[in-house]
């Protein structure tokens, strides 16, 4: 990282470690999440989906949290820390807008000034979330440089932070970037896995056979995975954005197809060319469209504790339709990647272990924000019925 940010990162590290060791801070964080964000989120048995795949599919309903995603956990933690550090302004980057909306929400609740950097491409495909952030009082800055997506929004937010670090906190949106962000974001998100583990034991008397989450930067995934790392019998699956297919080069499957490098102050897998230039990533999900990944995921992949598999745009959109039709739950496209990949895992485990085989899928966010993409993809919105009906198929089934 630039020397200009070293002091701020060191201060943040000390403040975060002190806060996490302070019972009063942890208690206040838990109270805020419970009373305001709506956690613990439910662990829901998706029975119709389970029958289709022959295994017990449990959905960790982070989509029911306030602002509609797991992101609220991270930002409330970081905003609480911001207040503790005496800073008055927050900045954030966002891809799909989930983290931007969560940051704007936290800023409103904690009475902090808020600026959100968003790739200009993303402001167009996530216009609804731009409006939500503005309504919440945040300033949204479209970033035109580079590929005008999430990585460029991070670059711009870092530039802002260099110039404003004395009074501004950077609410980093994912478990990537320089230390302490990957560990801090993991800590604030780990309630997802802690709750899911406890709920699964309480409701079914067993640990799951597998847990699954989508991985862009990897905050929801590391939040889920952390609780199960020591449970050797629990398979851990991350599903990366495969875009048009890894073989096409138009994807964001960083662990599957990236190579070790340095991006945004972290050593991790990076989509890069022969010269170390970051390669533009692609995903139908703006929230997963990032050419790097949290370093902890790189480590889990390298040591073989977690498996990371690409899921294409088409597979994710099919899963979005499937979950909508079978369970009446419209997932975020990010989460639909996890659903698509996890149902293949569930089908295999069902064949191996029978219908009590249990898979927890982190439903990290709801799909309201993605309706524009869904309308375009499925040809929806024609009340006269000219559009073809969406066909929902489970993995492995013919449409």
């Amino acid at each position: 990282m630039p020397e200009a940010l070293v002091k701020a990162l060191d201060e943040l590290t000390v403040a975060w470690q002190d806060a996490m060791a302070d019972e009063a801070f942890v208690s206040e964080f838990e109270r805020v999440l419970r009373d305001y964000a709506g956690t613990p989120s439910r662990l829901y048995h998706a029975e119709r989906l389970s029958r289709q795949v022959g295994a017990r599919v449990l959905l960790k309903r982070e989509d029911l949290n306030h602002t509609g995603a797991h992101k609220i956990r991270n930002v409330m933690g970081q905003a609480l820390l911001t207040k503790r550090m005496g800073k008055t302004r927050v900045i954030a980057e966002t891809g799909a807008g989930q983290h931007g909306v969560a940051s704007a929400t936290a800023a409103a609740w904690f009475d902090l000034d808020c600026t959100v950097y968003m790739g200009a491409v993303d402001t167009r495909r996530q216009a609804l979330n731009v409006a939500r952030m503005q309504l919440l009082g945040a300033k949204v800055v479209p970033v035109e440089s580079g590929s005008a997506t999430l990585k460029d929004a991070i670059n711009e937010a870092l530039r802002d932070w260099v110039a404003s670090v004395d009074h501004t906190a950077y609410l980093f949106g994912t478990a990537a970037g320089p230390h302490p962000f990957p560990s801090m974001v993991r800590d604030f998100c780990r309630g997802i896995g802690d709750e899911a583990r406890e709920q699964c034991l309480e409701q079914y008397g067993v640990l799951p056979d597998a847990v699954a989450a989508c991985v862009g930067g990897g905050s929801n995934a590391i939040g889920l995975f952390t609780a199960f790392l020591e449970d050797e019998g629990v398979e851990i699956h991350g599903f990366e954005p495969g875009g048009d297919g890894v073989e096409t080069g138009r994807h964001a499957a960083t662990i599957h197809a990236g190579e070790a490098g340095v991006l945004h102050g972290a050593r991790t897998y990076v989509l890069q060319d022969e010269d170390g230039q970051t390669v533009e990533s692609h995903s139908i999900s703006a929230g997963l469209d990032y050419p790097g990944v949290g370093p902890q995921h790189s480590w889990l992949a390298a040591m073989g504790r977690a498996t990371y598999t690409p899921v294409t745009d088409r597979q994710a959109m099919d899963a979005m339709a499937l979950l909508s039709r079978t369970e009446g739950i419209i997932p975020a496209i990010e989460s639909a990647h996890a659903v698509a990949g996890a149902l293949d895992v569930a089908r295999r485990l069902g064949e191996e272990k029978g219908p009590d085989a249990t898979v927890i899928i982190n439903l990290s966010g709801r799909g309201d924000k993605d309706m524009g993409t869904a309308i375009e993809w499925f040809g929806l919105g024609d009340a006269e019925g000219e559009a073809e009906p969406v066909v929902a198929t489970a993995p492995g089934e013919e449409a």
Partner: protein, 266 residues
């Protein structure tokens, strides 16, 4: 290979600051950047800093990023940067590369140091690698007698300034403002105290960068620093003449002469 240290000593002997000029390689083209950098040498730059265009230049403002982006879109490769270094170093002026870390690591640190030294390059300026995380580079630089220019910022603690000064060779780059590169109307009041703090940590030359675009600003900074680093203003001179190379070079020459006059007035 020309020595950066010698260039600073020469300027100090003339009781003035050295002028350090920056342009990205490959901007506006590979040959165009060579012509521009040679013009800057002819018109008074004492040290040349060649940027390696990178896709994610966190410490650069919009002007330099636009130039780097243009170079990348026109297909600049790391190897081309070495070639630009060679062409400029042939003028006899110490020529350093300013680069973010990932392209160096990708090229191979040892291979990079070998090729840079063979091209006559003087060393590296590394905006996103600090000495405490730059062990691989420091070892390679030491093995090839290359300069290691690390940055300090107004936010740096005295301990980190001392560590950075001790680890640097050639000069220390003092980022004068808490912010990214780019011309500013007024020089920073943070620069003077920062230079003084570096001076207190040793006798390595300290050059101030970020924000200087005129001879008068250069004179002001030269009053308290060993070197004045200018980048965005040079880039702007070329960006303002996109379709007329001769006019761009003429503007560059005029600007360099103004700045060179400035460091002599300071």
């Amino acid at each position: 290979m020309a020595s950066t240290t010698t260039a600073f000593e020469k300027a100090r002997a003339e009781d003035r600051a050295a002028l350090v000029g920056y342009l990205p390689a490959g901007f506006p083209s590979v040959d165009g950047s060579i012509a521009a950098l040679r013009t800057m040498v002819e018109a008074g730059c004492d040290v040349i800093e060649i940027g390696l265009p990178y896709s994610d230049p966190v410490m650069d403002g919009p002007t330099i990023q636009a130039a780097a982006q243009q170079a990348l879109e026109r297909g600049i490769r790391t190897r081309d940067v070495i070639d630009v270094v060679q062409a400029v170093a042939e003028t006899g002026v110490p020529t350093l590369v300013m680069t973010y870390w990932n392209p160096v690591e990708r090229y191979g640190v040892e291979r990079w140091a070998t090729d840079l030294a063979a091209a006559g390059g003087a060393g590296l300026i590394t905006p996103d690698i600090t000495p405490d995380h730059g062990g691989a580079w420091s070892a390679a630089a030491d093995a090839h007698d290359l300069d290691k220019v690390f940055l300090v910022a107004p936010s740096s603690t005295d301990e980190r300034i001392a560590m950075t000064s001790a680890a640097s060779r050639g000069f220390v780059y003092a980022a004068a403002v808490m912010g990214v590169t780019g011309a500013r109307e007024a020089t920073s009041d943070l620069a003077g105290p920062l230079v003084a703090r570096v001076r207190a940590s040793g006798d390595i030359p300290v050059a101030v960068g970020i924000g200087v675009s005129t001879g008068d600003q250069a004179a002001e900074v030269a009053g308290f620093a060993d070197g004045v680093i200018v980048g965005s203003a040079f880039v702007r001179a070329l960006l303002d003449h996109p379709d007329d190379e001769a006019a761009g070079l003429a503007a560059l020459r005029t600007l360099t002469e103004d700045l060179a006059g400035g460091v002599r007035r300071g």
